[in-house]
Structure formats: C-alpha cells, structure tokens
Assembly symmetry: C2
Amino acid sequence: MNARPIAVFDSGLGGLSVIRHLRQVLPQENLVYFGDTARVPYGTKSRPTVIHFALETAGFLLRTEPKLIVAACNTASALAMDELAAELPVPVIGVVEPGARSAVRLAQGRPIAVIGTEATVSSGAYERAIRALAPEQLVISRACPLFVPLVEEGWDSNHPIVKLAVEEYLTPLRAQGVHVIVLGCTHYPLLRDAIASDVGPDVQIVDSGRETSLAVQRHLREHDSLCQDGTTGSMHCYVSDNPALFRRVGSRFLDESVEHVELVEIERYVNVPRLPSASS
Amino acid sequence: MNARPIAVFDSGLGGLSVIRHLRQVLPQENLVYFGDTARVPYGTKSRPTVIHFALETAGFLLRTEPKLIVAACNTASALAMDELAAELPVPVIGVVEPGARSAVRLAQGRPIAVIGTEATVSSGAYERAIRALAPEQLVISRACPLFVPLVEEGWDSNHPIVKLAVEEYLTPLRAQGVHVIVLGCTHYPLLRDAIASDVGPDVQIVDSGRETSLAVQRHLREHDSLCQDGTTGSMHCYVSDNPALFRRVGSRFLDESVEHVELVEIERYVNVPRLPSASS
C-alpha cells in the first residue's frame, strides 16, 4: 500500500491519453502530470535536446515525491530512457517497451509496423525493443509528421484531409503485409478509426499508452506499491504554458474534463540541478 | 556607411525566407540569423511565453553587435514588438507593420484577409496595424495551423493534401470577397502557388517578408547606415537545435544553400539577464 502519486510527463497534452488508461486500470492511484507545453513538440528535435528537456520535465515532478515516473512521451521514451533511468531516483517506465512487447505477442512472427514522430522513428528504439524480444522479427517504421498537427487542429477520423494523410503514410506499410501496427505516439489513438479503416480488419492495432498502463499495474503489484485505500485517486496537472488551451484540448485525450491545471513558470524548472553526467 | 550586421531572428527556419529577400534587396549587408529551433514553434504558444522566448532569442543576437534587429517571426512581431522595442538597445523592425502597410496600399478600401498562426491571428496585431493606417478597413483573419507542418513535411503546392488544406482554410475568405491576402507567416510563401490558384488572379498576395526587407532598406537609407563597401555581404546562422536539419530544410526557404550554421547550447542564451521590466 503506497499512496504516493504516479508522476506522468509528456512534451504536451498527448500523454493525457496514457492518463486515461491509468485512470481505468488503476482508479485508486493518485496521478500528477506535467506537460511541457512551452517547448512542445519534442518529436521534431534532436536527441541531446530531447534528453535535456525530458530530464528537466521529469526532474520537476520529483517535487511531488512520486513512487514511479511514467515517460508518456514516445519521443522521450525512445531517445532518453537510459538517461532518465540513470538520473532519476525512482523507477521509470516508458511507453516503448510495453508497446513493443504487445506487438511481438500479437504478431507471432508476422511483420510489425511502427508509426511515430520523426525523432522516435529515427531513433530505432521500437525496432531495438522488438528485436530484443524476437531477434528475427521484421519491423517496418514510418514517421507520420502530420498526424500530431491534424489531431491538434481538432480534425477527426472522418475529415477528408485526415483520411488522405492516413492513406499517404500507410499505403507503403499495407503493401508490405504488416500484421500489427504500433501507435508509437500518444496523439495517434485519436486517429485510430481512420487508421483501422485504412489498414483493414486483419491488422491489429497496438496502443502503447494502453500497454504502458498495464505495465505500471504489473510493476506496482510486484513491488507491493498499489494504492488501495478504497477511494478514487486524485489528479493534478502542471503545464509550462497555456493552461486554458491544455484544459480545452486535453479533454479530448482524457475523455473527461481536465481539472486542476497549474502553470509552472519556465524559470522554475529549466536548469534544475542535475548530476554532472546528465549535462550535454 | 555601417558594416555592422543586420541581425534576424525567428522561432525556427521560416525567417530564412526574410533573409532571402534581404539578400536580394541589400546584397552588400552582413547578416546574422538565429533560429530558436529547440523551442519552435512559437505560433501555438501564449503571449507571455512568446515574449519571454523572443527577448532571449533577440538578446543572444546582441553579442554580434548588430546595427538593427529584424523580428522575422510573425508571431514574435505580433505578440512581442512593444517589449522588443523597449528592451533592445538597437532599432527593431518586425514583419507585421510592413505587411499591413502594403496590404492597405493594394486594397484601396476593399477587404483584406490575413492568414497566420493561431497566436498571430488571436493577437489581432495585423488588424490593429491595418486600422492604424485605414480606420474603416474591413479585415478578415484566419489561422491556418496546418500550413507550417505541411511546408516542413516538404509537400509543395501540387500535393493533393496541400490543395485540400488550402481550400479548407481559404474558402470562407473567398466567400467574403477579399481583394488582398497577407501571408502572415514566414512559411506561407512556400505555399504561394496553391494559395494563388485557390483565391484566383483577382486577389493580390502580400508577402510580409518581402515588404520587411524593403522597410529595412528604407530605415538604413534614412539613417545613413547602409553597408556599401562593394563586396557581397557575409551570412552566419545560429540555431538552438539540429543544425543539420536546419541546413537541409533551410535551403528551400533561402533558395540557396545554407552555409555556416552554428549550434548554440540552450544554456548559453536562456535566462539572459534582462531589465526588470521584461520579466514576466
């Protein structure tokens, strides 16, 4: 029994789709969230910058004394996982490994496609995680840079531009006979219907955020750290910019209204003191 | 005669389209450029954050001892012009006023449309600048959030998704009989053909970047500060992230290859000491 919060961070508001799954799977847990909305997105930036930002963003959350930190951002999970694990004094769970594990289980040796941001795909992190579990596995990756702006524009799976963009990015994957497609970005579940309709009913879709919430549950259970006090857990969000926008757009990711959003002045968390090994 | 550089800043690489015009109009001037690629974009962020970032980015350029600073970023020009003018010890020219001036001249009282980022459009800066010159002028504004990602994806005016997005955003403007359309974002000139084809030959297009280069020329001439040493001016670029990407994608904006790109570690320019009135 451990009532300390689970701390979740993301480059922006996409990680709220991971929070949504955590609320379903672990309704009694207290959750804190930090979206680095002043510097979003991470997915177009370089590895050193993503590592730097991820350490600062996660570092801020240490003030809430969490029992566990979740890197809900696929880009941060793909590029900064080693550094986060080395620097943070609490366990860290990213979204890449749980997504990869589920994909391998479902694929049973047939081709897997991974879609994500430019940075996530270039990093090769999903391929490495998949091949660590299934060395012979064929993995095809594709960056879909327009998906995040399309979701943030508020256009859904029925919008003709969304359909056309999904077709543009996924046609090459269909041609290669993929059996499983991993949504390697927290925004992509909001385009799930368009993706499913494009790839057809024979292709299984893995939502890394959903798999991560199950991995968190397993971790807490194994470490006897679940919060089971019989009450619904609390939730508190921090953002580095624009709490009103976060509240408005975030509800689409969370599937409930977003309450308790607090602005963190950027000066409060940049240049957080870090161990010497973390400086780039 | 003044050989000190003209310093140009932008949230990312879009401002290179302003550099391109400066090179044409003022080929003997020495130019320095700073793209804040670690924190790009500014166009989705709040006013206090844009002011903060713009002051830091422009503040860094003071080290090059410029004779003039150009805020090539429409968002920074729209949201932070007063603060930049108050804090910086050299003259600052933004892109909004020159774009507005040209639009008023061309419109001759007929409706003007302004397109730009969410932040630029919400700020109302173009409307204010236009109405300061022509109080009765009808101005219609429209944010086109997908245009920047479409340009950065490398899709040009012939791509079907670009055509569809242009149609989606501009149809309401056409219905209102606009006579002039202002490209209020440095990325938009790269979609000029698609925009021109959608609005038709009777609508005149104003490129704020082009107008700004002419305003810079006028300012230097009036202050007897032109560089006229008979040689072609130098150019040096700084970025806060990913110089290789900047070099590759930037050439499309500059219309020549981008040489001399230097990475500035973010620690070197964040929290630059500022006057007390600038702290948010």
